[in-house]
Symmetry: C2
Subunit: 538 residues, 2 copies
Amino acid sequence: MLQFILLSWERTNMDLELLGTSIIGGNRGAATKDTLRAVDPHSGQPIEPSFHSATIAELEQAIKLAAAARREFDTCPGVKRAGFLRAIAEKMEGMGDLLIARATLESGLPFKRIRSELGRTCDQLRQFAGVVEEGSWVDARIDRADPDRKPLPKPDVRSLKRAVGPAAIFCASNFPLAFSVAGGDTASALAAGCPVVVMAHPAHPGTAELAGRAIAAAVNKCGLPEGVFSLLFSNGYELGQALVRHPDIRAVGFTGSRAGGRALMDLAAARPEPIPVFAEMSSINPTFILPGALAERGDEIANGLHISFTLGVGQFCTKPALVMMAASAHRNEFSERVFALVESSPGGPLLTPGIKENYERGLAGRGKIVSGRHGRAEIAGLAVNAAAFQTTAEVVLRTPELTEEVFGPTTVLVNADRRDELLELARSLEGQLTANIFGTDMDLSDYADLIDILATKAGRLVFNAFPTGVEVCPAMVHGGPYPATSDPRTTSVGTRAIDRFTRLVCYQGFPQTALPDELKDGNPLQLWRMVNGKVSQD
Amino acid sequence: MLQFILLSWERTNMDLELLGTSIIGGNRGAATKDTLRAVDPHSGQPIEPSFHSATIAELEQAIKLAAAARREFDTCPGVKRAGFLRAIAEKMEGMGDLLIARATLESGLPFKRIRSELGRTCDQLRQFAGVVEEGSWVDARIDRADPDRKPLPKPDVRSLKRAVGPAAIFCASNFPLAFSVAGGDTASALAAGCPVVVMAHPAHPGTAELAGRAIAAAVNKCGLPEGVFSLLFSNGYELGQALVRHPDIRAVGFTGSRAGGRALMDLAAARPEPIPVFAEMSSINPTFILPGALAERGDEIANGLHISFTLGVGQFCTKPALVMMAASAHRNEFSERVFALVESSPGGPLLTPGIKENYERGLAGRGKIVSGRHGRAEIAGLAVNAAAFQTTAEVVLRTPELTEEVFGPTTVLVNADRRDELLELARSLEGQLTANIFGTDMDLSDYADLIDILATKAGRLVFNAFPTGVEVCPAMVHGGPYPATSDPRTTSVGTRAIDRFTRLVCYQGFPQTALPDELKDGNPLQLWRMVNGKVSQD
């Protein structure tokens, strides 16, 4: 089917032919000689066309346009930005199977998975549209004047969140749509009112161009200034570094490796004027299987674990990569079931040659320390087999490399014979996106101390479910202490993510006509506000 | 009066005798040989007693106690933390004139000013008590499960803000009470549920000891774990650096110089696990006097400006240090009035020998570039005269050092003959705590473009008032882009400040009994929450 779709695309959708050049506001960049091509993970062969690295002059032009667009975009009514976000979703949906086919081709992920990822991406855009249309996200506060207060009169003070300014967004390898050009970081930055300059991920440049064209078309359709969006291709790190260093960039969004995220954090912190980097980096999503659950439904949990750590060929930031089990008569049975599932796994292609190389190195390293079992499927291109390892708490506690993230379909099962070992393991963990507990209600009360420790380690605690498949909703937290992310005050999934791209602005003593609508008397936008310390919609 | 109070103190309040040692949880530190003494700004002479630098072992003990107190303090009911904050205020008020007298002696600031600062400090503590007692600050969100959703069931997801963990607080020189041991940073960190380790400022160690004893007494009275509060004295930078580097410290609050704040930001960013530094550093609070206001009430504004930039001997972070005037027939008259006021100023003592040295160097530097006039009072100890300078927009635009902060009673008047010069001046500014506009309503509409620029530069825009005297209230923003602060998403004054010391924690699929009360069905704490995307108190 994929070949057929790509063929029909070439024949009938000349307007969607990939140009391979950057998008600089309303224009396309130059066809420079420095190029890159995506790799088909199934075959390991390069995919046409070539994509042309942007020049430093193009980068500067993109940022200049973004800075010029800032005011109009930041101050336009929420309902207009909502329309823009919805228009992006419509434009992407309008590309339909062609966009899905290209993302499938470049990522090696199944068509069905990418189709559902497109749905998620459009849903995110529409959720943020709802948030900015409703408008209360600005956290408007009003403290009215009291000229008669003694000893000094009380001034009229009002404040709200506003867009921080142009944002740089780095695309993720593992979600060619939902965490990439039109993904959650871009959606939340645009929702806040920040123009964005996106760095395409070299693993899926064609998908990036299509999504970028959808956004550029929506900018045009909604009559917004062209600088609201630019997309840069690059065959190296220098351009991304220049983007983060540029004085007009005010915030950075990143999803990727710990090394990559930390490098951007360090760059941003060393600027003459430091800016925040919201990096989502590294997590092993420690999973604790408590005795009651193991006895009640060990097989079901083993099946779920196998699905969860091999989902997307194990390339989820929420993959459960360290599974700890308290002493239990059912533990061996559980491990054997996981091993059997691994051995019959079909394997699958990783996203890039680099990820494959890291996976194989990671597995080889683990194999020297602990025993493991792996799948035996025949593999080609970038494909690999799943692998599971087994060891003891004692070994993990003295071998920190077993708690490092290895991207790909692998996990480590850990037997903790003593309760204090389980707690010690939990205490020894770095910051995590999630921590997961399988148990009965009785387990939960028996292990309240474990939950307390995990609540200091992870942004999200999951009870009796696997952490993969992050719900997009107002309460979601896809964040956590370093190195899971760079800032545990925030999230990169769910509507709270909009807060990252803001700053506070306060107006004291201003006449009504000069105030933003959000802060006016009479509440013309019908927001939930805090007035004299009380929450109301008045 | 001051002498009399200090004398009665010594005679009748032996229990308030200063020991000069650090406070390490429930114990006092050692009387080490490395000591410091405060200096009386009026006489320039040292004040007894000596204060003993804490040792690294004491620092580690303080942090160990803080880490041990974390869980109990973070999870105790808001009403208990509220009682604790109020108890601190009561203990400080109970010290009454003795505390005020010591702060007056060490700061050289008037007794009346310090008395009102004590009132402000206690008011801050009580405002945060109100916030945590009411409880909605945790921004609780609930998205209920929908097991029938297709294609996948929707999980139950709930999240809230929780304390980030032990915080390091550095005291300010210029507010011995309100931005020091029991000041805004400490109050907001304690309110959030973070144990604090405070570094006393060497300019007012006696005031620090008294405030620290008030907090330690409140910890004891409220039955909280001793590690909730420690206070360290230090005669150098090393101890503060070790504090920021310590792995158990999760956030830093700082008010002080740009160099000092940046040094801590760099240290924290270079940690293996970076942590946020909330530094409030440097601002010149650009003030624009528009033609209508100058014509209508130039004298009144000149009087107000003089009061504002000499208030607290010019040692406010919100001092208006750069005053820009559009072309106007009334401009010279305005400047002459400011000069006349400066020349008849009584002068006053600066807080420390270092601040005096910087002030004199700053004035000498300015005197080489632009013309100025200064007061002629006879001065002793650390006292200095006020000074005002006058120049043109053109000179300021090519002389960036005129826009650097000089702590002390000085300001620069700037004539901008052309409208575009005024806008260019605004655009050239670094990040600011405040920007201030004096004008008529007509001026405000004529200069809408100026306001737009200033809204990108400052955390607070003030119309027809001076920025000194920062109101403590829910809507206040005492923040702004770097170098005004390290993080323009936040504020260090007003109840929004509590957000700095938090992280997000999310619970997915948890049974009711295992959820924090803030997230339980039935809303037992009666919080404002967001449930399925809707704000309500249900």
